[in-house]
């Protein structure tokens, strides 16, 4: 390990950010560069634990102490090698991951945790800069072909892994460019799109074929895909947003967050927004319903669009500022999180129940009706709320953005062809090894798991790729998340 006493000598530090006043005028990266010495000190804080909880906390199983050590020793080649062994896309997770690893960092028991996410981002950017990220072209090709449907984080990681195993991989994407949520969901100020394209280019060079603008089931039938490919993996995400069936929902000015965000991403990318319903926050009083990350992205985007005012409402009560006994280390704690978007200006209210959208005579949204609520414990010990009498009020607004989550993916899309078995939440059910009820067809990412984090999507894509490889070859030499490869190889029965 780098420095046994590093954690006693250095405190947690993160790079500076551009001033909010400056950054709201563009969609560029917010964080400033960090000096090499500083990053070195941050890496030195890692204690190289005998039981690295971070490594458990990371859904990908990133081998965090090892790459921290490599950073400490300024061995960037080694660092990226370790990082890439578990994570195909550290440039994404290094920017947008909520970092459950840091929540479970052992140093976090009584001190601020190691800046793992920052280290991850630094490693991959350094590696690109130093030319260590090169296309790794398979030495031998199998004769197998795999179709990946959807090019979000799970589709991309599945494709990358399957390609590595020597299979021919074709990725279908209905949008005009690959990346899914990464490209058209997450705002540029959190993830600039050249970062996505850079990786897509590497994958292309490695032999992955992308077919954007092809909507499977519409432009090409599932039947023909099944004929052409030895295996198919569905990575189409959890795209159906949760709606709020309230009075006035149909009013103009009430939109799903994702519609709003996607339009802006397209604008930044220079793609013409063709939708008849152009959503722009400029000069409007904006209310974002939902206190999560998507809501926060709406706040940041609305600010950049020069909204008049922004209010973010959350049903749940305001969380504590720091970890409470309810969610002790190493759990991922529910605490008040202030994003860079919040810093840029917005009002936040908690324990607010949205009751109605109120429109003007033209069918345009002019206000929403809300009530304060009081949270308590219900009969079965579950949290329940009651409305506080007399708290009902109207808040004027012209744009309401619904960011209250997603229900599941578009699982019924292929119903005419074949029906997928679903779990109780409406996600595609698999046999525990990513295999659906339909022969040859696998599912990974949010369509399988339900709405989740990018890091989980990447993890699912990787794991599914392994299973597909085993399905095709009888065995797989691709890394597994929770077990040693040797062990996996020794256990997999021969076909």
């Amino acid at each position: 390990m780098g420095k046994p006493t590093g954690f006693l000598e250095f405190g947690r530090e993160l790079p500076g950010k551009r001033a909010p006043k400056e950054r709201v005028h563009d969609f560029k990266e917010i964080y400033l560069d960090f000096g090499e010495e500083q990053i070195n000190e941050q890496a030195a804080r890692c204690m190289d634990c005998g039981t690295p909880f971070c490594h458990k906390g990371c859904p990908l199983g990133n081998i965090i102490p090892e790459f921290n050590d490599a950073v400490y020793h300024k061995d960037w080649e080694q660092a990226i090698d370790i990082l890439h062994s578990t994570n195909n896309f550290p440039e994404f997770t290094g920017r947008i991951c909520p970092a459950p690893c840091e929540a479970s960092c052992v140093l976090g028991i009584n001190k601020p945790p190691v800046t793992i996410e920052l280290l991850e981002k630094t490693i991959i950017e350094k590696a690109y800069k130093l030319g260590y990220v090169k296309p790794e072209i398979p030495k031998v090709r199998t004769s197998k072909k795999v179709a990946v449907i959807g090019s979000g984080p799970s589709g991309l990681s599945a494709a990358a892994q399957l390609n590595k195993a020597g299979h021919w991989v074709i990725v279908f994407e209905r949008a005009d460019a690959p990346g899914g949520l990464l490209r058209y969901g997450i705002p540029d100020f959190k993830l600039e799109k050249w970062v996505v394209q850079r990786r897509v280019d590497i994958m292309k060079a490695e032999g992955v074929i992308f077919k954007p603008g092809v909507n499977v089931g519409v432009d090409i039938s599932m039947t023909s895909i099944m004929e052409d490919f030895d295996a198919v993996v569905l990575c189409t995400g959890s795209t159906i947003p949760r709606d709020m069936r309230l009075k006035g929902r149909k009013l103009k000015g009430v939109h799903f967050a994702m519609e709003f965000l996607t339009q802006q991403n397209k604008r930044v990318a220079g793609v013409e927004v063709t939708s008849e319903d152009v959503i722009i926050a400029k000069g409007k009083s904006v209310i974002v319903i939902g206190g999560g990350d998507t809501g926060s992205d709406c706040v940041g985007t609305a600010n950049r669009q020069e909204a008049k005012s922004i209010l973010q409402l959350e049903l749940l009560p305001k969380p504590a500022e720091s970890r409470t006994e309810k969610d002790p280390w190493p759990k991922y704690p529910t605490i008040l999180r202030t994003s860079t978007s919040h810093e840029e200006g917005c009002e936040r209210q908690w324990s607010i129940l949205t009751k109605e959208f109120i429109g003007d005579e033209n069918g345009n949204l002019k206000a929403i009706r809300v009530s304060d609520i009081q949270w308590g414990t219900g009969m079965r010990g579950r949290p329940e709320y009651i409305e506080i009498e007399g708290s009902g009020r109207e808040i004027p607004c012209e744009l309401a953005l619904l960011a209250v989550g997603f229900v599941h993916g578009e699982t019924d899309k292929f119903n005419e062809w074949k029906e997928f078995e679903l779990d109780e939440k409406g996600n595609i059910l698999t046999n525990g090894q990513y295999k659906t009820n339909i022969e040859k067809v696998f599912a990974a990412g949010d369509i399988h798991r339900g709405q989740s984090l990018v890091v989980w999507a990447i993890a699912e894509g990787r794991e599914a790729a392994r299973e597909i490889d085993i399905y095709l070859m009888g065995n797989s030499f691709l890394e597994a998340r929770d077990d040693s490869l040797i062990n996996m190889v020794s256990h997999t029965p021969k076909p």
Partner: protein, 1505 residues
């Protein structure tokens, strides 16, 4: 050894014994009956060195060897109707016949037939009169039929020739009966058969020998010499023939390398030729050694053949048990040459040994190189020579004593009765060593590998392109780089780790295992001491040689035609030299050791057979350097595990009796850790080339991972040094000193290997739970191979992460992982039993991932009872203890929290070995008590004072620790802060060393002595002996029970540590399941179970673990790691680095503040454990824990095991239940009788009452003898009880003794006692001295020059903490070892003086032995050295010779004046008389570390002023 036929896990070959030995002789050879009576009296006075088992009448064995009582026999035979010829013309065989008449007569028939066949004439038999009225029931139950046989030879008239023919007759008949008479059950046995000596012995107590054999009581039985022996066996299974003496020797000790010695001997036998024996007779003699007999008996056999083959007995002993010669700069050249030459004939039979020997004419004694057994002798004016384990065992008139002495390490004491004189070691050995021109022979014939010609045009290529594939195929992991290879190169030693192992045993692991992972290193505990390979490096050697061994009965120059290696690891250049050998004398051949990866089942075994076949042919053809290589592996050829092919070839060649004709070189890719090297050498490899590791090191250099820039040569050299260091440590933990005797000695137990593999490759290695066979080994190997060479290769291949030393998601399974740690912490913090059960389930349910043997077990269905009927948990709490963790290894906060928690619930916490702050002895105002109930006494004896011992409910003698059995420890100076320094009675800032052995426990009788000492120091405390599970722990436990311990703790291999070499954490010791069941089964078998409490510990984590431990025989449990986890431990495994981030294993003040554990959390853990246990008890229908103990019948193996490796395991041995009498119990319900009522101290206490009650001065006089042991200790305990650490004013109780004091005189003597001894004393004089004063000077009658004689024994002032002592005369080895505060003046000492000393003052006014001041980190020694010889005797590793200043002069002068005053020393007087000139001859020995700290302090003080 016989195959283990019993169903349990007890292994008969592991019996140990230790003893009292000695001889009495008339120097002029004058025969008398009084020699017999004197010898017997001496033996009886060493009764306390022997032992009795459950049957008080049955001893472990005693006997006597005397010269042939010709006159007596002549008369007796006449009465029987036959005439004996004159002395020297007939032989007398003393025989144990089987009791069964038919079998007996069958044996007799064969014997008679052979008598005729070999040209003898049968004169007659004589039934030996025996009287068994007083012997024990057990002994009587298998009492043999004893007869004497009288023969003479028809043609042979020369006595020496007759002796040899008799020998042939004896061996021939013994072998024949052994092979052909099944019913004989090994009972037919020659005690002796000779024309000149005879042995009487049996399973008797010392005082039973003469009554039993009435011959010995007959005045006509006269002899000039008598060798006696009394045995203290670790077990009590009756065995008459294990009693000693044998034909030539009586042995006190262990031959640790016996397995290898026997294996080597079997090959050497085939080469034997002698002009003294005809060929047919040689064949009749074979085998000379065999595993049927004890190590001592085999040692006797080898001496016998060497002597009868033509060497003198002294020569034979020098050959078999050589001195430490390799690095001895004081040894004359001729002697070194002698030993170097004989090393090519015979490897040392290594292990602690004190041997008395005789050939009927010469009588003597010798000690092995380590000299770890006491032997004292004296000579009187009337020609009596007495030699015994203790001084004073035979009372002599002090005015007649001419000479007193002790045997020194490696030295021989010989009385030649025909010459009528004592021959000095120097004269004797010079004579033997110069009989042949050994040096010239060596110069001409011995070759160093350095001198072999370099091979041109040949260089192994480093192939980087395939490196990673080969690394994967050979099982390298990235963790190996980081945790093993890199630290080895950087630090030149083995890397350290901490906490225990919670990973699965190799056979249970999912991960592909290195074959050596199935082999656990054995280690010395109790019956033999481990060695300190660093501080006592002078006895260790890694030198080996290649070439064929020749006929051991002859000596020619060609015998030493060998290639010598300084150490066993071959660099590539050296390997090339060996491969290139092709001369008339040395030929090498490379045999490829790979197998076809695609050939399917059986391929590996076929390949092994073929390799053996090729090896055999090669050796028959004359190849004497056999190179076994896996270098040719590739995508189709998988490498065979090197350990497997080495073991196979070694045993194949042994079976074919060819092994001694060749050296075995291993060129293997799978060798990287110390343990890999150790297993290869242990199974026969002579030298090893780890080529892939070398290549890996080169690639690591390119990655720039090492701390500094180095050339390849330096990197290799560092790595080799690290491995060498590790190897010495592994040898030494078993008490083995040389690689030559370690090679092939198989010091391992296999865990998870099946019989077939064992028999073929690791023959006679203990393997008790079955396990994998050739097919599974092949599968395990092929998995790696397949990984390395996949059909569809990935763009980038990576190594596995490993995950052995740190938890890794893709690595090895750990029971303590993020999930379980979190669950346990949340459960205990929130007092959430449900959550605890969630935790317990993850530990207990091992259906998916196995980790422990108990995980494979299941409870049988029984009638359950309501939980209310199960005894309450409050009853169970008293059975709990927390583990021994020292204050020093963990913080005060963590340590005292455990103590408070355990005191609140009535369990026991353990101080660990670091002493305890006195403030914790008193209860706090809120009623909490930070006192640890269990006080540990470990080898470092830190802070072990009378006061400390007095404040305990239990005293635990730590013989071994699961994480590093057989090793000592080291607390670096930076961890010794002021507080810890004070508690440990050491200097803050100065590092502390715990030696590997307790220097007062070299054998079981020594342990009995320490138990006795501790019982004296605190009569209310239970004495607990902590052992670690290994083969033979059962017999040790039985020995411990017989040594009168109240509790025996069996620890698993996996227990935790604050710092230990990581190879030790993983590869030493066995699971407690095995050790515990072995201990329980053996105790029950020996009927000792009811007198000792059995405790178990080692990664006990759940109530189910406790239940299984109880069912396997434990009534109490220790929990350590789990308790630490509840205190906040998150298994950082950084304890050794002082950086614990949760304030547990650290002394850093900032970090200690972060400690957040509470006693309540710990209490919750124990409540939950007890609750879970109670639920299981209810389920199984047990109302009390007592009912459960030893009920292994309630357990069975799980049926749902389908893992390809795990299903080969068979635990029936562990589950075997000894049949017991209906009235006997499975748990302890008796108290040990410590026989304290005989203590001399009661008399003193009586007289000292005014002192104890009112502090008045008292003085009294008492006689003392060697059976009065531990004088003054009860008295000190009483002082400590009342006057605490302070004690009484100096000299308040003054006792004057006269006589020969027993062992441990003044042990733990508290301040206020003043013990004056006129006479002499034995070992452990002033052990643990805690402020008392001790003076000793010779008896007023003595005529000898005091300063030239030995007056006190070995290991004086071991662990003394304060007080003073003046010794008029010399002391033995290890004077002031681990002294931390006492001041002592002595007039000469043996080897290893002031070893590990950390404080106090030692003044030596005479000669010192070798290795003075080894490991000395504190205190000062002043050595009077007018001849300027001291320099080369001092180990300068940690000390300097300093100028004396004024202060020194004052200190020294005061001490000398006291010495003169108290002992009337003329030496002191002379020095003082000429003070000005004599003071210049003093050398001040000053530890560097200590000096630095003192200087720093002075500086500080100056600044303050």
């Amino acid at each position: 050894m016989r195959e283990n036929k019993n169903k349990g896990v007890y292994v008969p070959s592991m019996e140990h014994d230790a003893c009292g030995i000695g001889f009495v002789a008339n120097l002029k050879g004058k025969k008398s009956h009084s020699v017999v009576t004197n010898a017997m009296e001496m033996l009886m006075n060493m009764e306390h060195r022997g032992a009795v088992g459950s049957d008080p009448g049955t001893g472990d064995g005693a006997g006597i060897l005397i010269q042939m009582p010709h006159v007596f026999f002549k008369e007796k035979c006449k009465n029987l109707g036959f005439d004996l010829p004159e002395f020297g013309k007939y032989g007398v065989g003393m025989i144990f016949f089987p009791e069964d008449e038919a079998v007996r007569e069958e044996c007799r028939y064969i014997l008679n037939k052979h008598i005729g066949e070999l040209g003898f004439e049968l004169l007659g038999y004589r039934k030996v009169p025996t009287h068994n009225e007083h012997i024990g029931v057990t002994a009587k139950s298998i009492e043999p039929w004893i007869e004497q046989l009288f023969v003479r030879h028809k043609t042979i008239t020369n006595p020496a020739e007759l002796e040899r023919k008799i020998y042939v007759l004896k061996k021939y008949t013994s072998h024949f009966v052994g092979h052909n008479i099944e019913e004989n059950k090994n009972e037919f046995y020659f005690l002796s058969f000779s024309y000149k000596t005879i042995v009487y012995k049996g399973q008797l107590r010392t005082n039973q020998v003469v009554p039993y054999f009435s011959d010995l009581d007959d005045e006509r039985v006269e002899t000039a010499l008598a060798l006696v022996h009394s045995r203290f066996s670790t077990n009590t299974f009756p065995k008459w023939k294990l009693a000693q003496p044998f034909k030539y020797i009586a042995h006190n000790g262990e031959i640790n390398t016996i397995r290898g010695n026997i294996n080597w001997m079997s090959s050497k036998e085939s080469l034997m030729e002698s002009s003294n024996f005809i060929k047919e007779d040689i064949d009749r003699l074979l085998p000379i050694c065999d595993t049927e007999h004890s190590d001592s008996a085999n040692l006797d056999s080898i001496i016998e053949i060497l002597v009868l083959g033509g060497r003198s007995i002294t020569h034979a002993l020098m050959m078999v048990i050589p001195e430490a010669w390799q690095d001895n700069k004081h040894m004359p050249e001729y002697k070194k040459s002698f030993y170097a030459y004989h090393a090519s004939l015979m490897e040392p039979w290594d292990g602690p040994a004190s041997i008395c020997f005789t050939d009927g004419n010469v009588v003597g004694a010798t000690l092995d190189r380590n000299g770890l057994r006491p032997s004292r002798y004296c000579l009187t004016t009337d020609d009596m020579v007495i030699m015994a384990s203790e001084a004073g065992a035979l009372r002599v008139d002090q005015s007649k004593v001419v000479m007193k002495g002790r045997l020194q390490p490696g030295k021989m004491f010989v009385a030649d009765l025909s010459q009528g004189r004592i021959i000095s070691d120097e004269e004797l050995k010079k004579d033997i060593c110069t009989r042949k021109p050994y040096k010239k022979w060596l110069d001409e014939y011995a070759i160093s590998i350095r001198d072999l010609p370099l091979v041109d045009n040949f260089e192994f290529q480093y192939d980087e392109s395939t490196l990673i594939q080969r690394q994967i195929a050979h099982g390298f992991t990235s963790e190996d780089f980081k945790m093993i290879l890199q630290p080895m190169v950087d630090q030149k030693t083995e890397p350290l780790g901490s906490m225990g192992a919670d990973t699965p045993l190799a056979v249970l692991s999912d991960q592909s295992q290195h074959l050596s992972g199935y082999f656990k290193q054995l280690f010395a505990q109790v019956s033999n001491p481990p060695i300190d390979p660093i501080r006592e490096r002078l006895v260790m050697s890694l030198q080996g040689s290649f070439g064929a061994t020749k006929n051991i009965l002859d000596e020619t120059p060609e015998h030493c035609r060998q290639i010598y290696l300084k150490q066993p690891i071959l660099k590539n250049s050296q390997l090339v030299k060996l491969i290139g050998l092709d001369s008339p004398f040395f030929k090498s051949k490379v045999i490829e050791c790979t197998f076809n990866a695609n050939a399917g089942k059986g391929a590996l075994e076929d390949a092994i057979d073929y390799i053996c076949y090729k090896a055999e042919n090669a050796v028959r053809y004359g190849i004497n350097v056999l190179v076994l290589s896996d270098r040719t592996m590739n995508a189709n050829l998988a490498p065979i595990p090197s350990l497997l092919f080495v073991g196979a070839v070694n045993h194949h060649l042994i079976r074919k009796r060819l092994r001694a004709k060749t050296g075995i070189v291993v060129e293997a890719g799978d060798v990287r850790e110390t343990h890999h090297f150790a297993t290869l050498i242990g199974y026969g490899a002579t030298a090893i080339n780890p080529y892939l590791t070398f290549e890996t090191l080169v690639s690591l250099k390119k990655q720039d991972v090492f701390r500094k820039k180095m050339e390849n040569v330096e990197i290799f050299q560092n790595y080799i040094e690290a491995i060498n260091y590790g190897l010495l440590k592994i040898f030494s933990k078993m008490g083995i000193s040389t690689i030559q005797s370690y090679q092939g000695a198989q010091i391992f137990e296999a865990l998870g290997i099946n019989k077939k593999v064992i028999n073929k490759c690791f023959f006679r290695t203990v393997s008790r739970i079955g396990g994998i066979g050739f097919n599974e080994i092949a599968r395990e190997t092929l998995v790696r191979h397949k990984m390395a060479f996949p059909k569809i290769p990935l763009p980038k291949q990576r190594l596995e992460v490993g995950g052995l030393y740190q938890w890794k998601r893709r690595g090895e399974h750990h029971l303590f992982n993020p999930d379980t740690i979190d669950l346990l912490q949340q459960a205990t913090r929130n007092q959430d039993y449900k959550l605890y059960m969630e935790y317990a389930k993850r530990i207990n349910d091992q259906t998916k991932k196995a980790a422990t043997l108990r995980g494979l077990l299941k409870f049988k269905k029984r009638n359950s009872i309501p939980i209310e009927e199960v005894e309450p948990k409050e009853n169970i709490f008293r059975r709990f203890a927390t583990g021994a963790m020292s204050f020093g290894s963990i913080s005060y906060e963590a340590h005292s929290t455990l103590a408070v928690a355990m005191n609140r619930i009535g369990g026991k916490s353990n101080s660990g070995e670091g002493g305890e702050d006195e403030i914790r002895f008193e209860k706090k105002p809120n009623g909490d008590w930070e006192r640890s109930s269990i006080k540990q006494v470990a080898s470092g004896r830190f802070g072990v004072t009378s006061h400390y011992l007095t404040n305990a409910s239990e005293l635990q003698i730590k013989m071994a620790q699961g994480a590093k059995p057989g090793e000592g420890g080291q607390l670096p100076g930076y961890k010794v802060d002021d507080w810890i320094g004070r508690v440990r009675h050491s200097t803050p800032g100065v590092g502390l060393i715990s030696p590997p052995p307790h220097h007062d426990i070299y054998s079981i009788e020594d342990l009995a002595q320490l138990i006795h000492d501790l019982k004296n120091s605190n009569r209310d405390a239970r004495i607990n002996v902590k052992l670690v599970a290994e083969t033979g722990v059962g017999t040790i436990a039985a020995g411990v029970a017989k040594a009168k311990a109240d509790v025996v703790l069996i620890s698993g291999w996996d227990g935790g540590t604050g710092a230990s070499p990581i190879s030790s954490i993983r590869h030493t010791g066995l699971p407690w399941e095995l050790g515990l069941s072995e201990a329980h089964q053996t105790l029950v078998k020996n009927k000792l179970r009811d007198r000792i409490v059995v405790q178990a510990d080692g990664q006990l984590k759940t109530g189910r673990d406790l239940a299984i431990a109880a069912l396997l025989g434990a009534e109490e449990w220790g929990v350590a790691t789990a308790a630490l986890v509840t205190e906040g431990c998150i298994m950082m495994r950084k304890c050794h680095m002082n950086t614990c981030p949760v304030g547990i294993a650290t002394q850093n003040h900032e970090l200690r503040k972060l400690f957040s554990g509470k006693p309540e959390h710990v209490i919750n853990l124990f409540k939950f454990l007890a609750e879970e246990l109670r639920e299981i008890m209810a389920e199984l229908g047990f109302a009390t824990v007592d009912d459960m103990i030893g009920r292994s019948d309630v357990l069975r193996m799980r049926k749902n095991i389908d893992h390809w490796k795990i299903k080969t395991v068979d635990l029936s041995g562990i589950l075997y239940r000894e049949k017991t009498d209906p009235e006997s119990v499975n748990y302890c319900n008796k108290v040990q009788d410590h026989v304290l009522e005989k203590a001399l101290d009661w008399k003193i206490l009586e007289a000292a009452r005014p002192a104890l009650e009112n502090g008045e001065s008292v003085k009294l006089e008492l006689p003392i003898t060697n059976v009065d042991r531990t004088a003054g200790t009860i008295l000190s305990n009483e002082i400590s009880k009342k006057y605490k650490g302070e004690g009484l004013p100096e000299g308040t109780i003054h006792v004057k003794f006269r006589g020969s004091a027993g062992q441990s005189f003044g042990a733990f003597g508290a301040r206020g006692i003043k013990l004056e001894l006129e006479g002499e004393a034995n070992d452990y004089f002033g052990k643990g001295l805690s402020g008392g004063q001790l003076f000793v000077y010779p008896d007023r009658e003595a005529k000898f020059v005091p300063e030239e004689q030995i007056i006190i024994g070995n290991v004086a002032f071991y662990g003394a903490t304060s007080g003073e002592a003046y010794i008029r005369g010399q002391a033995g080895e290890r004077f002031c070892v681990r002294n931390s505060g006492a001041k002592a003046v002595v007039e000469g000492i043996g080897d290893h003086g002031c070893e590990y000393m950390t404080g106090g003052v030692a003044v030596v006014l005479g000669k010192t032995g070798r290795n003075f001041a080894a490991g000395m980190s504190g205190g000062t020694a002043y050595v009077f050295d007018p001849d300027q010889r001291f320099g080369s005797y001092c180990n300068m590793g940690m000390v300097d010779f300093d100028e004396m200043d004024k202060e020194d002069h004052t200190v020294l002068k005061t001490l000398l004046e006291n010495h003169k005053k108290y002992t009337k020393s003329t030496v002191a007087k002379e020095i003082l008389d000429r003070w000005k000139s004599s003071v210049k001859h003093f050398i001040k020995v000053m530890p560097k570390d200590y000096k630095r700290i003192l200087l720093e302090r002075k500086e500080k003080l100056k600044q303050a002023i």
